[in-house]
């Protein structure tokens, strides 16, 4: 930690949050809001004179409320930067000023204000960590109702030599050393009802470690661990588990159904021991809840800002689970640590290093190759209506609607979603690599034979096509008459592609893309949505059942959903008769003539 503080190549901004990210790989423009510390961190020597005179007392976050701190405080002794900070929501302000008077170096400034600044970076590593599960939801364990029921994090602070009790374990209720301690595993993990459905990965080993720490300090202490199964899968883990058992720690297979408090503050747990099939009761002085891991609270905001994807558990989704475990699907963004999923310190360090190398790999040449899949304007067809500039999520198209000069695409800013080409009514935009002709040729071939049996699906590269891949990797079976046409974004799916497909005899057409808010092209899929709504109206007017054109949002993580949507589409297809298809073809041919 201290190395970070003194490294000449690292600029550290604490109390800071990313509020906006623009740009793309190679040159992201990041806006950071740095909250004021009210203490000059470069001048502060952490002498602590300020805190001695501060009259305001608050629970100490670092010790999870087991001790107190002042409104001017050092987060913890080894903190980096080694500087005090004032929490202005708690501080009495100018009227008090005792800390400022006590500070010899005059580094306390009440007038300091928040800083809002921008930096340009070539790559971003997302290491936003985790949040421990809040066990109050599981009321059966009585956390906060019973004083001697504590969380694994509270326990951790208590057995820490630098903690509030200087490493002495005491029962919160009577401040006596407990003679017996229990641990309940999977609190907030592996449950369909409460907390996450996933395994939090670290809690088994953390509890085993805790039992070893206890046995080292208090060899006679009675220790019981209630578990579903012990997952000691890593290198050296089984040894620790064996050591814990050899030292007399009892492992009881079964999670307690309830806990009640006894008169002396101890707790009685009722548990079905699944090894023996009997209901057992255990009286213990203290109970520790092994908390699971949740995604950190800012995950969703950051995800929306960067257009990243999350798994159903709420952690960031990597580009590929095995081959690109630290890459985001968006180029230039990488993941490290629990942001990507629950993991222990060793794995977090490994990922941190891996993410660093992936970033170096991207940046070391000092240049990157830009996306050649961009749009181009055919000037002679352009009527300067300005529609393309309106729909472009990147403001990459400039058009002077007054002077009527043709639109111009800034290819460096264009990311290639193709929404402009889909919205242009005058055929004045060519989307390179995904031209009308290239896409319609796939439709033509697909529907040349047995058109009535087929399900034509437009799938965006980042979410829905990836969702189909995920269905494949998961071996989810769905009807074999599905045919995908890949576009970079659902925004590329021109109205004419759909009419063309129906005219060629498609019974049903599916347009699929990223969920609203998850679009890889900021918000291009809003235009997809609008377009489909418009088309549905037109279809009704023309006398074509609107139902035959479907729009579905399928994310890269939704393999199951992809397979289900395909099954639903097949049901829909079966309801379309050959007569209906023939009629549609006639209607559309007539429309074309007009």
């Amino acid at each position: 930690m201290a190395d970070v503080g003194r490294h000449p190549n690292i600029t550290l901004h604490t109390m800071s949050e990313v509020v906006d990210i623009k740009g793309f790989v190679g040159n992201f423009n990041v806006r950071v809001l740095k909250k004021s510390r009210y203490v000059d961190e470069s001048e502060c020597t952490a002498c602590g004179e300020c805190a001695k005179v501060c009259p305001v007392v608050y629970p100490d976050e670092f010790n999870v409320g087991l001790s107190s701190r002042r409104a001017v405080y050092m987060p913890f002794p080894q903190a980096v930067p080694s500087s005090y900070a004032i929490n202005m929501n708690e501080c009495l302000g100018h009227g008090c000023s005792k800390c400022a008077d006590a500070c010899d170096k005059n580094c306390i400034h009440f007038h300091m204000s928040d800083e809002d600044f921008q930096v340009t970076v070539g790559s971003i590593i997302v290491a936003t960590g985790l949040e421990p599960y809040d066990p109050r939801e599981m009321d059966e364990y009585g956390y906060t109702r019973y004083e001697n029921v504590m969380t694994s994090l509270e326990f951790e602070r208590m057995v820490n030599a630098g903690g509030p009790t200087k490493g002495e374990l005491i029962c919160p209720k009577d401040r006596q050393k407990p003679r017996s301690v229990g641990f309940i595993q999977c609190v907030g993990s592996r449950s369909l009802q409460k907390g996450g459905e996933y395994c939090s990965n670290i809690c088994c080993m953390n509890t085993i470690k805790s039992t070893l720490v206890l046995k080292e300090h208090y060899p006679d202490m009675e220790i019981k661990v209630f578990y579903i199964d012990i997952r000691a899968f890593g290198k050296g883990f089984e040894d620790l588990y064996n050591r814990s058992r050899q030292l007399g720690v009892q492992y009881v297979r079964g999670l307690p159904g309830s806990i009640e408090e006894l008169e002396d503050g101890s707790v009685r747990v009722a548990v079905e021991n699944t090894s023996t099939g009997r209901i057992e009761y255990h009286d213990l002085n203290m109970m520790v809840l092994a908390l699971g891991i949740k995604p950190s609270s800012g995950t969703q905001r950051l995800q929306e800002m960067m257009g990243l994807q999350l798994t159903s558990d709420g952690f960031y989704l990597e580009a590929h689970p095995k081959l690109q475990p630290v890459d985001a699907a968006t180029r230039g963004i990488f993941y490290a640590g629990c942001a990507e999923g629950p993991k222990d310190i060793k794995e977090s360090v490994t990922q941190g290093s891996a993410a660093a190398v992936r970033a170096v790999r991207l940046m070391h040449r000092g240049v990157i190759t830009s996306e050649p899949i961009t749009s181009e304007i055919i000037a002679e067809h352009c009527v300067s209506c300005g529609k393309c500039a309106t729909v472009c999520p990147y403001n990459a198209i400039v058009v002077d609607t007054k002077k009527k000069t043709p639109a111009v695409v800034n290819t460096a800013a264009c990311s290639g979603c193709g929404t402009c080409a889909a919205e242009c009514k005058f055929g004045a935009i060519v989307m390179n690599h995904f031209t009308d002709e290239q896409i319609n040729s796939q439709t033509d071939i697909m529907l040349a034979e047995n058109a009535a049996d087929k399900i034509l699906t437009f799938a965006c590269n980042w979410c829905s096509y990836a969702g189909a891949d995920y269905a494949g990797v998961s071996r989810l079976q769905y009807p074999a008459n599905v045919r995908l046409i890949r576009t970079m974004c659902s925004g590329r799916v021109d109205e004419e592609f759909v009419w063309h497909a129906f005219e060629k005899g498609a019974p049903v057409v599916l347009v699929s893309g990223c969920h609203i808010g998850d679009c890889h092209y900021i918000d291009a899929n809003h235009w997809t949505e609008k377009r489909i709504v418009k088309m549905h109206k037109k279809m009704e007017k023309l006398g074509i059942r609107a139902e035959r054109l479907q729009l579905e949002w399928i994310s890269a993580a939704e393999g199951i959903r992809f397979a289900q949507v395909m099954k639903d589409m097949d049901k829909l297809r079966m309801g379309v008769s050959p007569g209906e298809i023939a009629e549609t073809i006639e209607i559309l041919k007539a429309r074309k003539k007009k």
Binding site: M1, V4, P8, I10, L12, H13, T14, M15, S16, E17, V30, F62, P75, F76, V80, T120, V121, G122, I124, I125, V126, G129, P132, L153, A161, M205, G236, L240, F334, G337, I345, V349, Q351, G352, S353, A355, A356, A359, L362, R365, V367, T369, S370, P372, T411, E437, Q438, S441, Q442, D444, I445, M446, A468, D469, A471, G472, Q477, A480, R483, L484
Partner: protein, 209 residues
């Protein structure tokens, strides 16, 4: 839409396309469900297809060498690889195209693994029929592709690390030690994250800070 103007500028459509089709068996991943030989044979009869064959692992070194040799011998100017998802191996084959002296964008992939063999495992005939369709679609599309060139743009040699827990610290230090500038952003008043709150850590049972 008229695109003839653009296509002409890009130099496509002047000569008849010479397409190579490679149907990857992916060991047995594709071949155990899809009749790859049949798909390849079928594709051989398509317009503009000069070479069509099945191949054990298209992405492997021998697989790529075979394709490269065909490009040289038969003057192929565009390639269809019918294998796995382009999201996985499109970069691999684009690299191969460059090696063979072709424009990397004169490539099209048909996804026979994620979209046929793995999702229609119990319907080999239907999976094979679908594979044939996907290859036909890819051949049609590849015939209409034109070369694209990537632009080289400058990059900022800086990384932002969001989060100063153990993972962020490790990433920041590794980058900084390699000589890159790092901007580390942390929400709390100190870095360290959850790790700093822990006492002994498994499996070494030593201090975490």
């Amino acid at each position: 839409m008229e695109i003839s103007g653009m296509a002409a500028v890009a130099g496509a459509g002047i000569e008849k396309p010479r397409t190579g089709v490679y149907v990857c068996r992916c060991g047995l991943n594709i071949a155990q469900t899809v009749d790859c030989a049949k798909v390849a044979q079928n594709a051989a009869g398509l317009e503009d297809v000069v070479v069509s064959k099945e191949i054990t692992y298209a992405c492997s070194e021998p697989g790529q060498v075979e394709i490269l040799e065909d490009i040289a011998e038969n003057g192929l100017d565009r390639i269809v690889v019918a294998s796995c998802s382009p999201r996985l191996h499109e970069p691999t084959f684009r690299q191969m195209m460059k090696k063979g002296g072709l424009n990397p964008y004169m490539l099209e992939m048909a996804n026979l693994r994620e979209q046929c063999s793995w999702v229609h495992m119990h319907e080999p005939d239907a999976a094979t029929e679908k594979a044939e369709d996907l290859v036909k679609m890819a051949v049609a599309r590849v015939g209409l592709l034109w070369p694209l060139t990537e632009e080289i743009v400058p990059l900022t040699k800086k990384t932002m690390v969001i989060g100063g827990g153990i993972a962020g610290i490790q990433a920041a230090l590794d980058l900084a030690d390699t000589g890159y500038e790092v901007i580390l952003v942390e929400k709390k008043p100190s870095i360290g994250g959850i790790m700093a709150q822990l006492d002994k850590t498994f499996p070494t049972m030593d201090c975490s800070i």
